[in-house]
């Protein structure tokens, strides 16, 4: 399935803002998402991701700026746009007393789908979510991971062209996350455009063709994950835990060993070309760190560089 880059963007935002009273949650963002693309919004809590998602879902309207979805204005064509997209919200929103099947069927009604279609798709989607054997159970009895999968299944009842996922794997164990990712790959392969917000870098690296980093309501960088890492971080990182010493005081002395360095409360990060070589030189110079970790640079480092904060903050 190929998508031409000159086709109409699925979503285009120009100078979009969202204000709640005095508080400006989104302060002028620009982006365009091509059909079939997996596009990520990376950022810490409070960066404006969820507000942006709600606007892109044609649920809330921008305070200013221009936003089109499928080339349409959501302020005028909201119901039509929402009929063509699926939303996986941050929190699960089911009727807990109803069965899995009824929750999906009821949602199909909201899209005004014919009953036979709803019934077929419900069976199909329960299969897709690996939940067929729980179809008649109450949603209340499901585990967190199962509920997330059901949320994704529900969001697909109208065969959306665009699927918007807000923190899809928060709170899930690694196994449940990988199962979810696998389902999302399948959708991507089928040509569904995905928009994903996350504060997990590995998730962003795995799932996104392209992403933007948001901070304080603004987009601070945009690009493919590997490109962002290449542009904003060194090849490798050497993490040092120095034990009892105050990290601040040693930062000056370590400066000459790295292209750049970040001092965190519990460790010092040295951005270098080769972590091996740098560690050897440190040993030669008489440094005896308590613990060391050598790794490749990640989106976390990009984020730290761009915002001065870690994603968990």
């Amino acid at each position: 399935m190929s998508t031409s880059s000159d086709s109409v963007p699925v979503v285009r935002a120009r100078g979009v803002t969202k204000r709640f009273g005095e508080f400006e949650a989104v302060r002028g963002v620009d982006f365009a998402i091509a059909p079939g693309e997996s596009f990520g919004f990376l950022g810490p809590n409070g960066a404006g991701k969820t507000s942006t998602m709600r606007m892109v879902s044609a649920v809330s309207t921008p305070t200013s700026g221009s936003l089109t979805i499928f080339g349409l204005d959501p302020a005028i064509h909201g119901p039509e746009i929402r009929g063509r997209l699926g939303v996986v919200p941050q929190e699960d929103t089911f009727d807990l007393d109803l069965s899995l099947r009824l929750n999906l069927e009821m949602f199909g009604r909201y899209y005004d789908l014919p009953r036979t279609t709803i019934r077929e798709r419900t069976t199909e989607l329960l299969e897709f979510a690996h939940l067929s054997d729980r179809a008649e159970d109450k949603v209340d009895n499901l585990s967190g991971g199962m509920k997330r999968r059901l949320t994704i299944a529900r969001a697909l009842i109208n065969r959306p062209e665009l699927l918007i996922l807000d923190e899809p794997t928060t709170g899930l164990d690694p196994q449940a996350r990988h199962l979810l990712w696998e389902r999302l790959y399948r959708l991507k392969r089928d040509g569904v455009t995905l928009i994903i917000t996350t504060h997990y870098m590995d998730e962003a690296e795995q799932l996104c063709d392209r992403l933007v980093v948001m901070d304080h309501g603004r987009i601070v960088a945009e690009g493919a994950p590997r490109q962002l890492i290449a542009d904003h971080a060194s090849r490798e990182v050497l993490e040092l835990r120095l034990g009892s010493e105050h990290h601040d005081e040693v930062a000056d002395q370590l400066g000459s060993f790295a292209e750049r360095l970040e001092v965190l409360p519990d460790r010092v990060l040295l951005y270098v070309d080769s972590a091996d070589d740098t560690l050897a030189r440190l040993h030669q110079a008489g440094w005896r760190p308590e613990r060391t970790l050598q790794r490749r640079s990640s989106l976390e480092d990009v984020f730290l560089r761009l915002t001065g904060r870690t994603l968990e903050e």
Partner: protein, 262 residues
């Protein structure tokens, strides 16, 4: 895929369907509150207390006691349906299960969610109204052709409470106030809306207070439709209920919109 804009007006029916589907799963409990309990009152009060009343004072406002309270029980059942569907269920849908938030990610607008909800309340109130019309006729309290309007009046009484209460529940952040509304609002209203004895039984200074209570107008209107009476007061009662329903609907559009999409 796309739908003509003109058909948008009927989107609320999809929200109505949700309630119907939900009710099909959970209807059993409502039989007790909407059918058995009022019938129990009718038996115990209408026949039991009615016997005492007949012995001592004879008629109440020119009616036997059974005929006097039969219309009250439709009015109070419609009222209880209206409030029962509105406080906790709505707060749950906007705050705990967030199922209304899910609904507005589909083609539904907050307005559709609201209209669907109120239409469902009206549907149940009409069903209750039909059932009680038969009971009222069976006990001989149907003295006017206006009884045929009882199903609609039942819906109006339900909506006069449901609409403002849905709006309120969509507005508040917690259910702290709900038990107080029950204890100091609903329970006294149920007992003192000239439900079980006529307004003439109250001391003179209290009568205007009783007439200020919303349910009083529901009881009086339904009683007039059963037993007959002059048109002017009936229209006044109708107007009070219509203002409550209409005002509640307008307020609900504001609070639900604010809650769901801003």
């Amino acid at each position: 895929m796309s739908e003509p804009a003109l058909l948008g007006w009927s989107r609320w029916r999809r929200a109505w369907w949700f309630h119907a589907m939900y009710y099909a799963q959970t209807w059993r409990g409502s039989v007790v509150s909407s059918v058995l309990l009022p019938l129990g009152y009718l038996g115990a009060l209408g026949v039991g207390v009615g016997h005492l009343v007949a012995k001592h004072t004879g008629l109440v406002d020119g009616q036997t006691y059974l005929h006097f309270i039969a219309p009250s029980l439709l009015a109070t059942t419609a009222f209880q349906l209206g409030e029962g569907e509105s406080l906790w269920p709505v707060l749950a849908a906007v705050k705990w299960t967030r199922s209304y938030h899910a609904a507005v990610t589909t083609p539904l607008e907050p307005r559709d969610v609201l209209v669907g909800k109120l239409a469902w309340v009206a549907t149940r109130a009409i069903a209750i109204g039909v059932f009680y019309t038969l009971i009222i006729a069976a006990v001989g309290a149907a003295r006017s052709w206006w009884v045929l309007t009882l199903p609609l009046l039942s819906a109006l009484v339900s909506l006069a409470f449901a609409a403002p209460l849905v709006a309120y529940a969509a507005h508040v952040d917690s259910d702290l106030s709900f038990p107080l509304i029950y204890r100091f609002g609903f329970v006294p209203m149920f007992l003192f809306s000239a439900t079980f004895y006529p307004v003439s039984a109250y001391p003179g200074w209290l009568r205007p207070v009783v007439q200020f209570v919303p349910l009083y107008h529901g009881v009086a209107l339904i009683r007039a439709a059963c037993l007959g009476g002059s048109l002017a007061p009936a229209l006044a009662h109708l107007a009070v209920l219509a203002v409550l329903a209409g005002g509640g609907f307008a307020w609900g559009q504001v609070t639900l919109r604010r809650r769901l999409i801003d």
